[in-house]
């Protein structure tokens, strides 16, 4: 391999990994790696940027902080948690990746993710697509009307918005109302079928939270708090988030 030898002198300095270990319960088991490669075998991002989860962790263990904090690979992780699900040592690689993302300056982070986070902060509904609450309400009502008319079995279908005191507050990924509005209907049908008392809201209605993927903790918290307040303001007990 063309890469330079890694010189390891008296004490491996892995400042980054050690810091992450302090943050996590049981240190996220980060030291426990058997290098079996199960994580890499199941990771959708293996091979991208010449990186995979095992290699990422290995480099962290060897103190190659500069390299792992620079690689774009951390942004290719989908945070799906397949790795930790089956890892024999239950190593919290997702958190290691997340913490690596956090070290990036906001302006260096991928524009798409940061942009989506910014939109969410800007809109009342926390929509990463920037969809307005009026548009969302309109689309829901429009689609509902259409379905009730066209499908005999859906005559009594409901999709309430801002219904106070409902049992469930349902979030909606804003991709659907914006680009694929028909995709919302199946879930309505299920909820209707089981007789659930539910509602959308015009505040904090979007399910997605790109601020989390962007590892922008303050913004992430702000988005969550806004949604929580929306649920409470409508006097609802249960919050359903499909993301």
């Amino acid at each position: 391999m063309g890469e330079p030898a890694i010189v390891l002198e008296g004490g491996v300095k892995s400042a980054f990994k050690d810091k992450v270990m302090e943050l996590l319960p049981e240190g996220g088991n980060l030291n426990m790696c058997l290098t079996c490669g199960l994580c890499s075998s199941g990771c959708p991002a293996t091979g991208l940027e010449d990186m995979d989860p095992r290699k990422f962790l290995r480099m962290a263990m060897l103190g190659l902080d500069e390299e792992i904090l620079k690689t774009d690979w951390v942004w290719m992780c989908t945070m799906c948690q397949r790795c930790i699900y089956a890892c024999p040592m239950q190593i919290n690689i997702p958190q290691l990746v997340y913490q690596a993302r956090k070290t990036w300056k906001r302006e260096d982070k991928p524009k798409g993710i940061i942009g989506s986070c910014d939109q969410a902060i800007r809109t009342e509904g926390n929509s990463a697509m920037g969809a307005s609450s009026e548009d969302f309400k309109f689309v829901v009502e429009d689609i509902l009307e259409e379905v009730c008319e066209e499908q005999e079995s859906c005559k009594n279908l409901v999709a309430p918005v801002n219904k106070k005191g409902a049992e469930f507050f349902l979030n909606q990924n804003s991709r659907e109302p914006v680009t694929e509005p028909d995709e919302m209907v199946p879930l309505w049908k299920i909820l209707n079928y089981v007789g659930a008392d539910w509602t959308y809201g015009t505040v904090g209605w979007a399910a997605e939270n790109y601020c989390m993927f962007a590892a922008e903790d303050d913004d992430w918290e702000q988005v969550v708090r806004n949604k929580m307040k929306a649920v409470e303001d409508l006097g609802i007990k249960s919050w359903l988030n499909t993301e």
Binding site: I6, E9, G11, G47, A86
Partner: protein, 941 residues
């Protein structure tokens, strides 16, 4: 005869104490009268109720009237009360109607009985891990993902597909098979089994090798592993030969197994060592499932009152490895920890030794001797030969046409009866042979099956049972010498089997009854070697009440143990050595000879005599048995800058520094594994070095957490519960790097530091350049020189210089010479607890002989004939010094002739081959008998 067997039994209560327990046993009803059942199988044939067959891992059905498997002991049928229609619903009774001996007892009741015993040995075995909850394996969700136990049945001649391997989905023979290691082992996430199951690597390799033998044409087999743990004796050679035989070993672990196309086979995706994704479709995937504590371990521990460790195995110490925390209660086998058969059999003998020591006072007070039926005199009878041709499942019948061989045998002169059996060695077949002997008045038996080495004793017993002299049986080895080696040519194999049977029949016709022989036993033992193993054996034998002479070549007892600090369980070793030395030195039955060397050894089991050089003085010792425990030592390497720099140490050298705290100034320490092991010169694994290294690494990290510790290894082999140490070492931040033989670490030393360069496969082979304060070499364990001893006793060593046991699985502590036993490092590298266990096992085995005053001998001995003229040629060639000359008078003239010491003679026949005039013959292998065999062999030419 001296074993009382209670089946369907469960321990309900144990009261009393060491030496006097009352065990309350609940016996579930069998619903079959054991006295009446003749195991004809009619009940099972008629029974209409089919249930999953546990023995076949649920792959096929059995009846509610059943035996678990063909070799069941006792061979008596049982009704499965939970499934029997009559017992559950009061209707049916088919078995009762058909049973020819009225053995069915629907009204059989549960029985509670009290057994009074002096000690208790627990051997409940293990429970196989059930992977059904590991959703990502797709086990039970797609048919061609099976467990290794299910696969074992698929592969077995007595399995549901009679040894013709097919996959469950469509019944086709799989051509591409993958094994997944560590399923339910070494996993603290999806199951609590943080330990290594110790045996799965070897059984997976074995299964793959056998698969290649059971299938035709090319077959693609891959074992996906984390570390290959072939740490047992001769195991690494097996692993290497499997690699050469084309089995793929891939260090990788798939995440999810997916059903294959159309639901057949399975798809596996994995990242290889360098992180490249590989996707393969396999016809069959085998999950190498681990061994867990038995399911009622907890209940048993409460009932009996002993402790379990966190994994549910028996809590024990390294110095009393088979003793539970309750006095008088011992345990052996996989209940102690996952282990393989040689280890479990050794363990069983250790438990027996502990019980025997405890019960020494009452030894023999309740035992009985077997009385055989009177032998029928066959003098003057024509040969009436019975031939039993074994199918050995498909082992023989898969290649040799056993029907054709049987038919052919009926045409041979002197043959009265021919039978073909699925397993001629099974208990029911023994009964059948005995019955046939009586029915047909047979007076010679030929068994065409496997090797007499393992099976002749069994058939001899059967003959005795039927009232025939035990030497009237002849075996034709149509398995090892035929079907196993001629699989690719069944037609010629069948012809060869006919030749073999014809030869055996020709010889059998000339067999004569041989009279019984015995020798008196000197009830005294000699133990060679005063290390922990030798001392343990000596103490055990002495505690059983026999005199022991213990030889130690140095002037101090204790051996290697003085150089060791702690066991893998963390116990201090030196105080235990001191205690043992004191016990041995103060025992009135033990004579210790220090600075002692064995000079001569004559005699045989029961009666040995040796001259021992004790510090220049010769002493004669008479003994009945000997335990050889001559030990081993740490190999001193000539690589990795050892000897060039005082910063490069072996384990034992580094241990001294660790003990003194001299290591605390270091900032970085590197260990290199397999130094002098697993290479061309020493192709064995030294078994203890991986555990030793992780222990030392842990000590370093505990002394100084910020120290860098690297372990460069080929596989980490912290087998069994030792895996916890490996886990702990990693937890503390020790970094493990794999290397291969073709890219060994490069070491250069200068001044106070050592530079170690190694490629890290996990980084695509990128080089690590480690600057270390110390380099520790985990060097091999080599046996002490045993050449002289081996020559004196005529026992054997393997290629690596370790003493060879009589049979690795069945007789793991017996040497090939009767009356000699082996323990400790001279047998194979092993940790202290295993050495002590083995030494206890040797104690037990020695006790079997020492408990008798008289020992029966084999009657295959050389004997002088009237043609001997006393030329003495054979006296010199006899390898056992069994022949001497004597004078006798005939018609007033003095003559000389030879005489054989029956106790020394092994019946090898060297004398007979040497003698130019037929003056000596070996009974059972006389010139006439051999000639008949040779003539018969050439009959077809």
């Amino acid at each position: 005869m001296n074993i009382e067997l209670h089946t369907l039994a469960e321990v309900q209560n144990v009261s009393g104490e060491e030496g006097n327990f009352t065990v309350t046993v609940k016996k579930a009803p069998r619903y079959v009268d054991m006295e009446k059942c003749i195991a004809c199988g009619e009940c099972a044939a008629k029974c209409p109720k089919k249930v999953d067959d546990e023995y076949q891992a649920g792959l096929s059905k059995r009846k509610a009237a059943y035996i678990p498997y063909g070799q069941s002991v006792p061979l008596k049928y049982a009704l499965d009360g939970e499934n029997c229609i009559m017992i559950q619903k009061g209707k049916c009774g088919a078995c009762e109607q058909i049973c020819p001996t009225q053995a069915i007892k629907f009204d059989d009741k549960e029985e509670i009985l009290d057994v009074n015993v002096g000690s208790v040995i627990l051997t409940p075995g293990f429970k196989a891990f059930d992977p059904v909850d590991l959703d990502y394996t797709y086990y039970k969700k797609t048919p061609d993902v099976v467990t290794s136990l299910e696969y074992e049945r698929l592969l077995s001649a007595s399995g549901p597909c009679a040894g013709h391997l097919v996959r469950p989905s469509d019944g086709k023979e799989p051509r591409k098979i993958a094994w997944l290691q560590c399923v339910g082992s070494r996993d603290i996430n999806r199951c609590g089994n943080g330990f290594c199951s110790s045996v799965c690597c070897m059984y997976a390799i074995k299964q793959s090798v056998i698969t290649a033998e059971h299938t035709t044409g090319d077959i693609d087999q891959t074992i996906l592993y984390m570390d290959i743990r072939s740490h047992g004796k001769e195991f690494d050679k097996y692993y290497e030969s499997a690699k050469k035989g084309g089995i793929n070993f891939v260090q990788a672990r798939p995440h999810t197994i997916l059903p294959g196309p159309d639901g057949n086979g399975a798809i596996i995706q994995y990242a290889d060592k360098s992180g490249n994704m590989v996707e393969e479709v396999y016809d069959l995937v085998v999950l190498s499932i681990g061994l867990q504590a038995p399911k009622d371990a907890q209940q048993l521990s409460q009932t009996v009152g002993f402790e379990l460790n966190k994994y549910g195995f028996v809590e024990a110490t390294s110095f009393e490895p088979v003793s539970t925390t309750k006095a008088g209660v011992f345990s052996s086998g996989a209940f102690n920890a996952p282990m393989d058969i040689p280890q479990a059999v050794t363990d069983a003998s250790s438990a027996a030794a502990n019980a025997a020591v405890m019960l020494a006072e009452s030894r023999g007070s309740m035992t009985q001797d077997k009385v055989w039926p009177e032998e029928r005199d066959i003098a003057g009878e024509e040969a009436r030969i019975g031939v039993f041709v074994c199918s050995c499942g498909t082992n023989i019948a898969g290649t040799v046409d056993v029907k054709a061989v049987s038919e052919y045998a009926s045409s041979l002169p002197g043959v009265t009866l021919v039978e073909n059996n699925l397993f001629t060695c099974s208990t029911d077949t023994q009964d059948l042979i005995a019955a046939k002997i009586k029915e047909n008045n047979l007076n010679r038996i030929v068994v065409a099956a496997c090797t007499p080495r393992t099976h002749e004793p069994l058939f001899k017993e059967t003959l005795k049972e039927a009232g025939l002299n035990e030497y009237l049986v002849e075996m034709a080895n149509i398995r090892n010498q035929n079907s196993w080696v001629h699989q690719d040519n069944p037609e010629k194999a069948t012809e060869k089997a006919k030749d073999q049977v014809r030869m055996a029949v020709a010889k059998a016709a000339l067999l004569q009854p041989l009279s019984k022989m015995s020798v008196d036993v000197t009830q005294k033992a000699m133990v060679v070697g005063g290390g922990m193993s030798g001392m343990t054996s000596a103490l055990g034998i002495a505690d059983m009440g026999y005199d022991v002479v213990l030889l130690e070549k140095s002037d101090m007892l204790g051996g290697n143990a003085w150089a060791l600090s702690k066991t893998w369980r963390g116990e201090e070793i030196k105080p235990e050595v001191e205690k043992l030395v004191a016990k041995v030195e103060n025992h009135d039955k033990i004579t210790i000879l220090k600075k002692a060397m064995l000079k001569t050894a004559v005699g045989s089991v029961g009666n040995f005599v040796s001259e021992v050089d004790v510090d220049g003085e010769t002493k004669a010792v008479k003994y009945g048995v000997a335990v050889v425990a001559t030990g081993g030592k740490e190999y001193k390497p000539n690589e990795y800058a050892y000897g060039e720099s005082d910063r490069v140490k072996t384990h034992l050298e580094f241990d001294k520094m660790l003990d003194s705290g001299a290591t605390s100034s270091a900032d970085s320490v590197v260990f290199i594994q397999c130094v002098g092991s697993r290479n061309e010169e020493r192709p064995y694994c030294s078994r203890v070095c991986c555990t030793h290294t992780v222990e030392s690494a842990i000590r370093l990290k505990e002394q100084k957490p910020e120290m860098s510790v690297f372990v460069l290894n080929r596989d980490i082999r912290t087998y069994g519960l030792r895996e916890d140490l490996y886990t702990k070492a990693r937890q503390l931040g020790v970094i493990f790097v794999k290397y291969t033989l073709d890219a060994k670490p490069q070491v250069s030393a200068s001044g106070d530091s050592v530079s170690v360069k190694v490629a890290d496969p996990m980084l695509g082979g990128r080089e690590l350049d480690i600057k270390a304060d110390y380099l520790v070499l985990a060097t091999a364990i080599v046996p002490n020189e045993t050449k002289e001893l081996v020559e004196l006793y005529k026992c054997a060593t393997g290629d690596d210089g370790f003493l060879t046991e009589a049979h690795p699985k069945l007789r793991p502590v017996d040497l090939s010479v009767d009356g000699l036993f082996v323990a400790g490092l001279c047998h194979y590298p092993k940790p202290l607890d295993e050495a002590i266990g083995q030494a206890q096992a040797a104690t037990s085995r020695a006790g079997v002989i020492l408990a008798r005053t008289e020992l029966p001998l084999d009657s295959i001995k050389s004997e002088v004939t009237e043609l001997c003229d006393g030329c003495a040629l054979c006296v010199d060639t006899c390898p056992y010094n069994a022949i001497s000359l004597e004078s006798y008078e005939d018609k007033g003239k003095e003559h000389r002739r030879i005489v054989t010491d029956k106790a020394l003679c092994k019946g090898c026949g060297v004398c007979m081959a040497t003698c130019p005039k037929g003056g000596v013959e070996v009974n059972g292998f006389t010139m006439d008998q051999l000639k008949a065999q040779v003539t018969s062999a050439l009959a077809g030419l």
